[in-house]
């Protein structure tokens, strides 16, 4: 066998790294796409029927093959080979995409190609080539640079959500990273989160001077700007000495847990602190009896998996290696396939609340259809984002849910806006609000 192995692995090996700043690292992945469209269809085992067959918002709304990951791989490959240049359409193809990760988990069921990283890398390339990001993204980047928040609001108002009953401690083991949306727009989420932590008997503190997490910067390819924020925020967190960073925002969760380590070329476990989402915290505290969600909430409810909490949330480990015969890599690569996303804690929490009749949408967990807002999409392509949200809301209507719950303020904002425009009688809530409302008032 040893002799055969030598024959088998005779090929010179190409070095590569999971580094999104160089598209050359992903030429292999782009060249091996087979157009099975596993990136686009709901995984066939879970295919719900002749409605809701797809999980890729871009391919579903725009329909031309170019907008599916299989098209983007071909376009990206042609660009990397110098056969195709950027034009207006190419920018639309690359940026009218929520980077929701549906394609990545789909491909990793079949082929283990790094589709998600390739799409991130193509956006970095767009910036490197001087054509990206989109104009709306540049405005956001200016907001973040000048005011340290997504909206361009006054930095001094960032703690405007705090009330007398939700005051942070000066020192605590938990840092609550609030994020731009809950700080400025959906402040009820921040207040609910604070109340939940306090109800569980824990203290929390805030970062002394919280800035934007940089999700949009990273997502649109502004790598250097995002890296600067990562360095600044991680350093600030380390200085607090706290052991846990808690977010109530799925995008912020992914940034801290996955993309900061990616930007800093370290493993998630080397951050020096643990990153958790509110649902993980609450699930744990409910299990150990510290939190009691006993107040009834009578509703037919459905849960929307926010992409960054679910399929995109597995920890990051840097990788550098060689690829040889048949594409085999050395050292072995522990691939992030989305299997260990945070799918079950939010469902367990909601099912445990008296009166909640939790019904699943046809597309759930790793097959969920993104709300359409994420990662710079809504700002540059608002019509696409609206159509994607409406497509998801069709599912909510299909199952007759009265309440739609997400675990991300960005999903809540987007769904609330679209249901408001439609006049839909669907209540949109964040899971922090639901947990808070169900807490035992006597406790």
């Amino acid at each position: 066998m040893a002799e055969e192995l030598n024959v088998r692995y005779y090929k010179p090996r190409d070095e590569f790294k999971l580094d999104v700043t160089d598209i050359e690292n992903f030429v292999y992945d782009m060249s091996r796409c087979i157009k099975c469209k596993g990136c686009t269809w709901v995984e066939h085992t879970y295919m719900p029927g002749a409605k809701f067959m797809t999980r890729c918002p871009s391919a579903t709304i725009y329909e031309f093959d170019a907008y599916g990951a299989y098209g983007k791989m071909r376009i990206g490959h042609a660009m990397a080979e110098g056969l195709l240049d950027w034009n207006e359409k190419a920018l639309e193809v690359m940026y009218a995409c929520t980077l929701c990760g549906a394609c990545d988990v789909g491909c990793k069921r079949n082929l283990d190609l790094e589709i998600g990283l390739t799409l991130e890398s193509l956006r970095v390339k767009a910036v490197q080539d001087g054509v990206g990001p989109m104009p709306a993204h540049k405005k956001l980047a200016a907001n973040i640079e000048k005011k340290h928040n997504f909206y361009g609001a006054a930095h001094k108002d960032r703690k405007g959500w705090l009330t007398e009953e939700t005051q942070p401690a000066r020192k605590a083991d938990i840092v609550y990273f609030v994020g731009c949306n809950a700080s400025y727009k959906n402040q009820e989420i921040a207040r609910s989160t604070a109340k939940i932590i306090q109800a569980a008997g824990d203290d929390f503190m805030l970062l002394p001077n919280e800035w934007c997490c940089g999700n949009t910067l990273f997502s649109v390819g502004l790598y250097d700007e995002a890296k600067a924020l990562a360095e600044r925020n991680v350093e600030a967190m380390r200085k607090t000495g706290a052991r846990t960073l808690l977010t109530s925002c799925a995008e912020g969760y992914r940034m801290w847990k996955v993309d900061y380590p990616k930007l800093l070329d370290i493993a998630t476990e080397d951050l020096g602190f643990e990153v958790i989402h509110l649902v993980e915290y609450a699930g744990d505290r409910i299990a150990n009896g510290a939190l009691k969600t006993t107040r009834p909430f009578e509703t037919r409810m459905t849960y929307h998996d926010s992409c960054s909490l679910s399929r995109l949330s597995e920890p990051w480990t840097p990788y550098e290696g060689k690829r040889g015969w048949m594409g085999c890599v050395e050292p072995r690569l522990k691939r992030r396939r989305g299997k260990n996303g945070v799918y079950f804690p939010p469902r367990d929490i909601l099912k445990g609340i008296p009166g909640v009749n939790l019904v699943e949408m046809p597309r759930m967990r790793e097959n969920a259809f993104c709300c359409g807002a994420g990662r710079g999409t809504k700002e540059a392509f608002p019509d696409f984002a609206r159509r994607a949200a409406n497509h998801r809301l069709e599912e909510v209507r299909e199952i007759g849910a009265e309440t739609l719950v997400a675990a991300c303020p960005w999903c809540k904002s987007h769904f609330s806006e679209v249901t408001g425009e439609n006049g839909d009688a669907i209540q949109v809530l964040d899971i922090a609000e639901v947990i808070c409302a169900s807490l035992d008032a006597s406790a």
């Binding site: 192995l5 088998r8 090929k11 060249s31 091996r32 796409c33 087979i34 157009k35 099975c36 469209k37 596993g38 269809w41 995984e43 066939h44 085992t45 879970y46 295919m47 719900p48 029927g49 002749a50 067959m53 329909e63 031309f64 093959d65 170019a66 907008y67 599916g68 299989y70 098209g71 071909r74 376009i75 490959h77 042609a78 195709l84 034009n87 359409k89 190419a90 193809v93 789909g106 990793k108 069921r109 079949n110 082929l111 283990d112 015969w325 048949m326 594409g327 085999c328 890599v329 072995r332 690569l333 691939r335 396939r337 989305g338 299997k339 996303g341 799918y343 967990r365 790793e366 097959n367």
Partner: protein, 532 residues
């Protein structure tokens, strides 16, 4: 290049948002570099990015598009999912690619056991809808992601074909836009709008449409088809697990896989024939042995660890029969079938092995996409439908030929491929798959392709490799003896201007002419006026 005038006409047919000649949009429709048969010479030499792409929604729109093309001499290619590799992509400059994915209408007639679909509808949703209404269909080996229409007019079989039968028997009323844009309605659709019958009062052209393994759109575009479904059992097959580890949990009282090992190939064949003779089981199959390694491996590297343990001896002495029992009518019926099965297997030395109570592939999800995992290059090169006993000769002959081309083909230690019963044992099916690393020199793979045909001709194996799949002037005279003349006359009659996916069915002949590394193999006659 499509003129602005024609472009405006196309826009007026489908709306401006559904037609594009932007180079980026067109690049999204490139066949390769990865995928079925991609990376090989045929893809590199014969395929091009389309000049323009259009996405019709209705049969009427398809007719109007095709008529414009026919009047203006614009070559066009129908395209459903694009999974079938280079043979479903443009072969000539400035072709119009007609992407049919928006034509995904679906109607289920529960009472009469059929579904009616457009070419954009793929298999897994059809199966889910059918199973929710007490019926089932075959998920073709092409995969759950394959267009049901494209698959049924090409291949369309799977292990479930043991009971469901061959695909052409399930094609009912069908609507075809002919190469010049005229509408042809087959079966009972010829007289009214009811697609229930496949047979028509006039000529039944389903055989022409399908041939043996399809003509890749060179005889028109199927825009609507009714597909026969068959009664299934009533209990739900529940999806379980999180991707990538998902499966259908089987209700063991009504659906069950059992894997048997048997002592010899002869016992394997006899078991399949007797199971068919007893008219039990939903599937009886033996898949390539490296698929078992794929199923066990967590990643491609681990696949090679597992597969690397095999030897020619271990492969030559491993015989498995995988049987799917279905209690179509009752639990008692399945219990009875299981007793009959055990009565058949015991005297043959069959030993029932531990089998997972779930289905990862075939009932709802044919995992064809995972076939690329371990090598990156793959094509299913030869499939043969004959008697069960022919496989005893064909398999080893093919394995010997394969050895000559390994490397670049993947080391498979003589694995004789996929083999199973069709139509309750009245037919035997063999399929041979080849795998390679696309970064290797793949010219020998191109030669192996044609050499397979020569082997089949020499040994008089009745093969699938006819029509557009191989040089028509090599295979046609040997399978007819005028198969090629007949097919070309049909093509000339239906498509005198050769606008529908040119130069199919002569594309492989053209490839051999164009590819210098193929010239040494050409020992057959062909006319001088092949399209260049």
């Amino acid at each position: 290049m499509i003129s602005k005038e024609v472009y405006r006409i196309l826009e007026s047919i489908v709306g401006p948002e559904y037609v594009s000649d932007d180079p980026v949009i067109c690049e999204g429709y490139r066949s390769g570099p990865g995928g079925y048969e991609n990376g090989l010479g045929y893809e590199r030499v014969m395929t091009l990015v389309p000049g323009c792409v259009i996405m019709p929604r209705t049969t009427e729109e398809v007719q109007r598009i095709v008529k414009v093309c026919y009047r203006r001499d614009i070559p066009y290619v129908p395209y459903s999912t694009g999974f079938y590799g280079p043979r479903s992509h443009p072969h000539v400059e400035d072709a119009l690619l007609i992407d049919l994915k928006r034509m995904n209408d679906f109607v289920l007639d529960e009472k009469h056991f059929y579904v009616e679909v457009g070419p954009g509808m793929v298999y897994s949703p059809i199966q889910e809808e059918c199973m929710n209404h007490g019926a089932y269909v075959v998920i073709g080996g092409g995969g759950a992601q394959a267009s049901a229409i494209a698959n049924l007019i090409g291949d369309g079989w799977s292990p479930l074909s043991h009971r469901i039968g061959l695909p052409h028997r399930r094609i009912l009323g069908t609507e075809v836009v002919m190469p010049d844009g005229e509408l042809l309605r087959l079966g009972s659709l010829a007289t009214d709008d009811d697609p229930f019958w496949g047979e028509s009062p006039g000529p039944d052209l389903r055989g022409l449409l399908r041939g043996y393994t399809g003509l890749r759109g060179c005889l028109g575009i199927v825009t609507r088809m009714a597909i026969k479904t068959l009664p299934f059992q009533p209990e739900r097959l529940e999806p379980t697990g999180v991707s990538p580890d998902t499966a259908l949990a089987l209700p063991q009282n009504r659906v069950k896989w059992i894997n048997f090992t048997v002592p010899s190939k002869e016992a394997q064949v006899k078991a399949m024939r007797e199971i068919g003779h007893a008219e039990i089981a939903g599937a009886v199959t033996k898949v390539p042995l490296f698929w078992r390694a794929i199923a066990k491996a967590e990643c491609k590297e681990e696949f090679w660890d597992i597969w690397g343990q095999e030897t020619e001896e271990s492969i030559a002495n491993f015989f498995i029969v995988r049987v799917l029992l279905i209690g179509f009518t009752s639990e008692e019926q399945m219990a009875y079938d299981e007793k009959v099965l055990m009565d058949i297997m015991e005297p043959l030395g069959g030993i029932a092995r531990r089998t997972k109570p779930s289905d990862e592939s075939w009932i709802k999800n044919a995992d064809s996409a995972g076939m690329w995992l371990m090598c990156g290059g793959y094509v299913s090169l030869d499939y043969v439908i004959e008697t069960l006993t022919q496989s005893i000769e064909h398999g080893p002959t093919y394995a010997d030929l394969k050895k000559k081309y390994t490397p670049p083909l993947m080391p498979d230690y003589g694995d004789p491929g996929w083999f199973q019963s069709f139509e309750l044992g009245h037919q035997g099916y063999s399929e041979f798959l080849i795998y390679w690393d696309p970064d290797d020199d793949t010219d020998p793979v191109d030669r192996f392709y044609v050499d397979t045909s020569k082997m089949n001709i020499k040994n008089r194996f009745y093969t699938s490799l006819l029509g557009p799949h191989q040089p028509l002037y090599l295979t046609g005279p040997k399978y007819g003896p005028n198969y090629h003349e007949f097919l070309l006359k049909v093509k000339d009659e239906f498509d005198p201007k050769w606008m529908s996916h040119p130069p199919v069915p002569l594309a492989h002949d053209v490839f051999v002419e164009r590819a210098p590394w193929m010239h040494a193999m050409k020992d057959w006659e062909s006319p001088d006026d092949l399209p260049k």
